[in-house]
Subunit: 339 residues, 4 copies
């Protein structure tokens, strides 16, 4: 932590800061410029942060030096990237994966049809929501456990591992029984109790970035899962909230190469929820592949017009084969392998 003193801070103020830094066992390193003195506090980050030196007499502001996340950092793994292996499918490193399926499980027939279609088109995972977080309490909230059983049936038929969302700790057991990958949704990225529950389940976790979470906060959220001993985490950029309302959210594709510089975890992209508009999904899926993502997660529906949820941005199942091929071509151009 660097403590930047105000211009004109007195010697007594500087000495008081040094004394407090040393009081928690940290070492104070003084750098006196012409106008401003900077005190480096070398020691335990939390201890120094808890000193509450912001606002202390003579202190202008504090600058943290060490990154606030640990287990998720690329340096922690000595630059070795994590490749997840899930039921024989790989994601990360040179492996590009496609996760596809309906937003919400609605009926047996539509789910099985969609599952067969995406499997035949080369998807590696089936996504589908059984418990749905809905902004409005008056919207369809998902089929719950019945939906999970339908997903299990779809897996039995297609062989595709299941990605589904854990919405609350009370569903942990039933999710554990039926899911292959546990999704933590954007609205729960900072639901720390849930992150710990997910970490303990022992299943791979797909962690979506919060609507207004910084990338550093995303990595800290990953640390909440990783510290439970669960090393199989993938991150997902799904659009952030900005002033622009032409698209539902603003897909932050810069996040992908930035994350690649800072974490060893695989990074995938969800162009469906980000845009809320089917016509934008393919261009952004291609861009996700070109920018270096390790995969995409997209919504596909046999009959989007009849979908109870998120119809407007679901791809038509009958278009999905061509879509997947075009996206894969961009991933391959940069050296990725498609299963």
């Amino acid at each position: 932590m660097m403590i930047v003193m105000k211009e004109g801070a007195s010697k007594a103020e500087i000495d008081a800061v040094i004394k407090r830094v040393e009081s928690v066992g940290a070492h104070a390193h003084i750098s006196a410029g012409e106008l401003v003195t900077v005190i480096g506090a070398i020691g335990d980050r939390e201890h120094v942060a808890n000193l509450g030196l912001e606002g202390a007499p003579g202190v202008d502001h504090l600058v943290p030096i060490l990154k606030p996340y640990k287990l998720a950092s690329l340096q922690y793994r000595r630059e070795q990237r994590t490749v997840l292996e899930i039921d024989g499918r790989r994601i990360g490193g040179e492996h590009f994966a496609t996760i596809a399926g309906p937003c919400t499980v609605e009926s047996r027939e539509v789910l099985l049809d969609t599952a067969r279609t995406v499997r035949d088109a080369g998807a590696q995972f089936l996504r589908g929501g059984a418990y749905k977080p809905r902004t409005s309490p008056y919207s369809f909230q998902g089929l719950g456990e019945a939906g999970l059983r339908l997903l299990a049936e779809a897996k039995a038929e297609t062989g595709l591992p299941i990605v589904t969302e854990l919405l609350d700790s009370q569903h942990a057991d039933v999710i554990h029984e039926h899911a292959d990958v546990v999704q933590i949704g954007a609205r729960n990225m900072q639901n720390y109790a849930l992150l710990e529950v997910a970490g303990k389940l022992g299943l791979p976790v797909l962690l979506k970035r919060g609507l207004s979470s910084s990338l550093e906060e995303l990595l800290m959220a990953a640390d909440y899962v990783l510290k439970e001993g669960n090393e199989r985490v993938m991150l997902c950029e799904r659009g952030i909230r900005t002033f622009e309302t032409a698209t539902r959210f603003t897909l932050d594709l810069s996040a992908v190469p930035w994350l690649k510089l800072h974490t060893h975890l695989p990074v995938i992209v969800d162009p469906s929820h980000a845009t809320g508009d089917r016509r934008l999904v393919e261009p952004l899926a291609r861009a996700a592949a070109a920018v270096g993502a390790d995969g995409i997660i997209v919504e596909v529906h046999g009959d989007p017009e009849a979908a109870l949820c998120d119809g407007p941005h679901s791809l038509y199942a009958h278009d999905f084969g061509d879509f997947a091929r075009r996206v894969a071509a961009h991933a391959e151009l940069d050296g990725k392998r498609i299963a």
Copy 2:
């Protein structure tokens, strides 16, 4: 719902939309302008929304007409404002309330000292966190149940009702036992499962706006609590996330009069977390009173430099009496009564 067709939409496209609107029992009302046709779909909002008409052939975009929240709306209560009565304290209408206390319960002595100070200075409620949501898994996470017991002790001594945060449904029982007002934190505003649990507890709920939640979403979140039959909800503006980093968040004081135009629920303001800087807390607390808020919630600490959490923006306990008087003067100027 108004369905705005594209310029040049064909008659067949228009007819197809009308047919789909009518298929869910809604009435289609056509308004043909020179360039553009607009179709009003009059009927159940959810049914029409679920038609997924966005992206249908010839459709440009959809405009919802009815507000997405119901129970929280001012019109639902026929313009009658809710006044909460909690242990003899009132909040809402002409009653301005001050909720004060430490960010987190840390030690018996500091808590009791602070509680006495804020009670003597005229605070109506004691706040204090036992379970703390922390961005970093390496930060102090609160004392848990032991903290709740200390709060109960502080209440026994000062008579101040307790406001404390419910972080996860697994803590619901113990929170129910010790709290007088259940706080839902900003990061959980869209944790719908938790909102329902809070609604069922039967205690008054203090619902904080999410970091990047729109005011409409805040009112929908309130509906999640209200629909459980719990009518005692107050809303809290606590700063939103914007591009500006000079302050920790951007306190959106326009939210207060806007909410007063749209909801019957009391609205309070948290200037402490919004700013992250003690020097800004009093000006913004005065502004909150002047803008028409029904109360404030502020952090106060006997020894902020020693606080384990949020020291930098905690008010000094010995300043709190003057602070409270100056804030109250602004509230009184606009016709509020201070208990």
Copy 3:
């Protein structure tokens, strides 16, 4: 400037950075922590910034230490606040001023009526636009020079000094002839050529914060004016662009006390453009007074329904007297004097 090296940066990389820092005459001060080395570059800010050390081998990131603005800073004036004196009116320090008038000058009669009303109600300045920046090229763009002449007539009759916007350097002469205070609008806050022109006119400048400008950028923009030798600058918070669309912009009232901590310049608030809704203007004007602003600038119109521009948020002239009294009461509560 502090240069934070990566964990594991090599000695050669550290030495190379030191050498480059010293190559521009700066002094390098090394602080070696357990994990990370930080190099303080003590010397000319611009020289060091221009080294382009971001992205150099072994460098993680740079942290500027000195503030990027100079002339506008409170320290530059040794904590002495600027009080502007304009035609006998004062603004800043203990003087609270009200600037009022129509958005745009539209007709002689309406302007003179409004001017008399706001003068009688105690406003110190008359605002009115002759040149209007309009988002749409198809909107009314102002009366131009004819509008300025009407403003001069209103001044002759009421004695109120005129505040009007300079939109382009080609209007500098005619603005100079008729205006008492030159307004730089939000969309031009980073139009540096225009800032220099405004600085050279010799008239007081009212500088509005850009829609998405940080407070540091606002102070740098003020420096562009101040460096022309023009010391009469006031700043204006008028709402920033955020994700929230319930109000037109998000009025950032935290900006006022933050600016008071960092600059000697007076700070006023424009609640009219920020909200775009007449019903929110008074609560926010009261809040501006309570938060410590040195004045407000508001739109008033004799017949807002007939206004060609910004009718929806203009106050009714017949309400303005009561409005001004209620706002002034909040300013006086915190020790301001009203002329």
Copy 4:
């Protein structure tokens, strides 16, 4: 324009609105739902907007139906996309173009070296700033006219047309003499006086999106240029300001396919300024090509470490050939031709 009345609006209030709509020659079309009445005002958009019906008794809010831009819209050109032809180079339609060069012209030698390198690597245009908008008044502001003459020399030697920024109307003549494409920078996107000057020069205009401008505002800004009779306009996404500070701005690649749905103008992407970090430029340039952009504009420097401006995100000239090839491959994959 649709006027949404409040729940419970009285018949008198509804009639008053209808009367006002008809007073400006518009036709009022009434749609009475169970809870809410909506009045469609069919007629001139500006006239109806100027009625100022927001805030009128019984009115809840207004919803504009027609798009606020005209000349830039895809429908205006009957879905025919504009292809710019500049000195034999094409941009738009199936033509992908690369614009490259240093941020600022600094020295003859570096400029000529860089120009030759980017020409040999296949760039179609040379970019370079002579007048630079700098946030800080203490930063290097460009060489001015001398810089333009160096650009002319670089063109003479390499044949590459010149793209350079027009910063103020006073430079219009000298820019006209030396530039082949006039750039309007992000900070001037809403400098309407300058847009009109640029429109009148008769040169192609590269219009950058403002830091916090919506896509609709970008198209309205384009209309300011187009209405001067200048049909050669290209748009440029260069990153918007959001809460995320990991990258300098947030590159909004969704803007590209959204713009393609709404405008006939070519759209290019600037990954250099958006990210501020050389390591992110190539991934985002590839993504821009994959998302369907008509070109990119990137900064290249022979010796970025010595650059006076924007060194940290400039590509190394010696890497530029490989960079351009990899980006082009993504553009070709989706059917673009590279000159």
